[in-house]
Amino acid sequence: MTEFESLAVPGPIPTNVSRPFWDAAREGLFTLQRCDACGSWVFYPRSHCPHCWNPRLSWHQASGRGTVKSFSAIHRPGHPAWTAAVPYVVALIELAEGPTMLSTLVDVALDSVRVSMRVGVRFVLVGKFALPMFAPLQQPSKEADSVHSTQ
């Protein structure tokens, strides 16, 4: 079992706009921007709402739940520093609030991942950052099948 914490991989480089997302993540909170004008939820963080161009967006705690839109088990990563973690699962998560984000799946057996699987956020320390990764909402029965432990 591989622990992500020990990986020396490229971390996020926050901007002034996105920093609240990463600051909240460090506190274990999954937050998203919501447009003050049209009410749309927005991910990734932006200065303007991509739906109505309103420049006022506020941060709100989000459900941290979503469904797997698609996924891939990575055997040969694009960045060499991730090689220590293979195979790991990258997924597109359609968040309950609407937007889709890319993340990593944890605490899941490789052969049990499915499109439409329901997942919930699980913060995992990678380097200096707490990254919002996702795990199945119903845990697989056999812990030994897990490809990753998140401590």
Binding site: V9, P10, G11, P12, I13, P14, T15, S18, Y44, K69, S70, F71, S72, A73, I74, H75, R76, P77, G78, H79, W82, A85, Y88, V90, L92, T100, M101, L102, S103, T104, R114, V115, S116, V126, F129, L131, M133
Partner: protein, 385 residues
């Protein structure tokens, strides 16, 4: 010819792809590729008064057209960068024709070339992908194409064999192109399925081989093209669409921006995908061809697998597809990879494709695709009549 010519391709230049270069410079390869294309057009150097080039990440971040023009000793009246990833080549062709129609210039060279030196520099990006994809272990294009492929399989029940068939057809076609990197190296569906999984469900042989190379075309007006060295190849229609950058932001994982781009290009040309002598479809990965076949309306959504089983995709088949081997068979010389589809189409429509000549080739659909099914350009090209 189905419609009115919007412009003509009068010259082509292509470098034989190689796995590695030693001491080559991007400017040097660009110069050689341009020289070949202008010579092929039967034009003099000084006739070139328009220049379209690609971005040069990490090498010449700004002022790329001026750098290339200075290097080649030309002084264009129109110069620009076309930055649409794999759609850049196709995107250059209609931009060149539009610039000529607007009276800005008369003869435009469109060029893309790249080296592959041993020293590989990592991209210095500071953008949303770098912040929100890379930290989750999703660097590079392979993962971004594995995701739509997995989604297609889940949504439509398409199979690994059906995707592999596309790569096998590309390898087959490469056997008729001595320039192709996989010339002499055919691969069966079984071979492709036996190659390692890189990012499930994507196999190694479903991914293009990165190579160094260069591709260029010269575009002039249809009137100017007559009387030059080769019969002109006419642009009858073009369409373009950009929908997103990162795959997480894609409006759909199973249909892309090529759908409206192809619809626009085909409508302008007054034709449809089924009437093409050649399908020159951008093929960075097998899934890209699968989605394009569906988006072109050649089969219903989700039905590419049946379609590739039912048709023969060689130069002598009922639906010749990427007769040069595609990028899956020819190799992908970075951004120039998209231009290989244009150059091959010109050869076929001039009836100069040699052993792989499609009989009575008249019309072709060329597609370009950039980033992660993000940037799309479609062209309809026709033989001179």
């Amino acid at each position: 010819m189905a419609g009115r010519s919007l412009g003509a391709i009068a010259g082509i230049g292509e470098l034989k792809p190689v796995r590695r270069t030693q001491g080559a410079t991007t400017l040097g390869l660009i110069a050689e590729t341009i020289r070949l294309a202008v010579e092929d057009a039967g034009l003099e150097k000084d006739a070139i008064d328009g220049l379209l080039v690609g971005p040069q990440v990490g090498e010449t971040p700004q002022h790329v057209p001026a750098t290339v023009a200075e290097y080649l000793g030309i002084q264009p009246r129109m110069a620009n960068v076309v930055d649409l990833g794999g759609a850049s080549g196709a995107g250059m062709v209609w931009r060149a024709a539009a610039a000529i129609s607007a009276g800005m210039c008369d003869a435009v060279v469109c060029v893309l070339a790249n080296t592959r030196e041993d020293e590989v520099s990592r991209s210095p990006n500071r953008n949303p992908i770098r912040e929100f994809d890379v930290p989750f272990g999703a660097s590079g294009a392979n993962i971004s194409y594995a995701l739509p492929m997995q989604r297609h399989m889940a949504e439509y029940g398409s199979t690994p064999e059906q995707f592999a068939r596309i790569a096998a057809a590309a390898r087959h076609n490469a056997q008729f192109n001595p320039l192709a990197i996989f010339h002499g190296h055919p691969a069966s569906v079984q071979d492709i399925l036996a190659s390692p999984i890189i990012a499930s469900p994507l196999h190694l042989y479903e991914i293009v081989m990165p190579v160094a190379g260069g591709e260029a075309v010269v575009v002039v007006s249809p009137e100017r093209a007559r009387g030059l060295k080769h019969p002109p190849v006419h642009l009858l229609g073009a369409g373009e669409k950009v929908t997103h950058r990162a795959i997480s932001q894609a409006p759909s994982l199973t249909s892309g921006p090529l759908k409206p781009a192809m619809q626009q290009a085909l409508a302008r040309a007054g034709t449809n995908a089924g009437a093409m002598s050649l399908l020159a479809l951008y093929d960075c990965y097998t899934v890209m061809v699968a989605l394009t076949i569906e988006d072109a309306g050649l089969c219903p959504a989700g039905g590419f697998g049946r379609w590739v089983e039912d048709h023969s995709l060689g130069y002598d088949g009922d639906f010749p597809l990427n007769t040069h081997g595609g990028q899956l068979g020819f190799g992908q010389p970075d951004l120039a990879g998209g231009m290989t589809h244009v150059v091959e189409t010109v050869r076929q429509l001039r009836h100069e494709a040699g052993v792989r000549q499609i009989r009575n080739a008249q019309l072709a659909l060329v597609t370009g695709n950039g980033a992660t099914i993000s940037e799309a350009t479609a062209l309809v090209l026709a033989a001179d009549s």
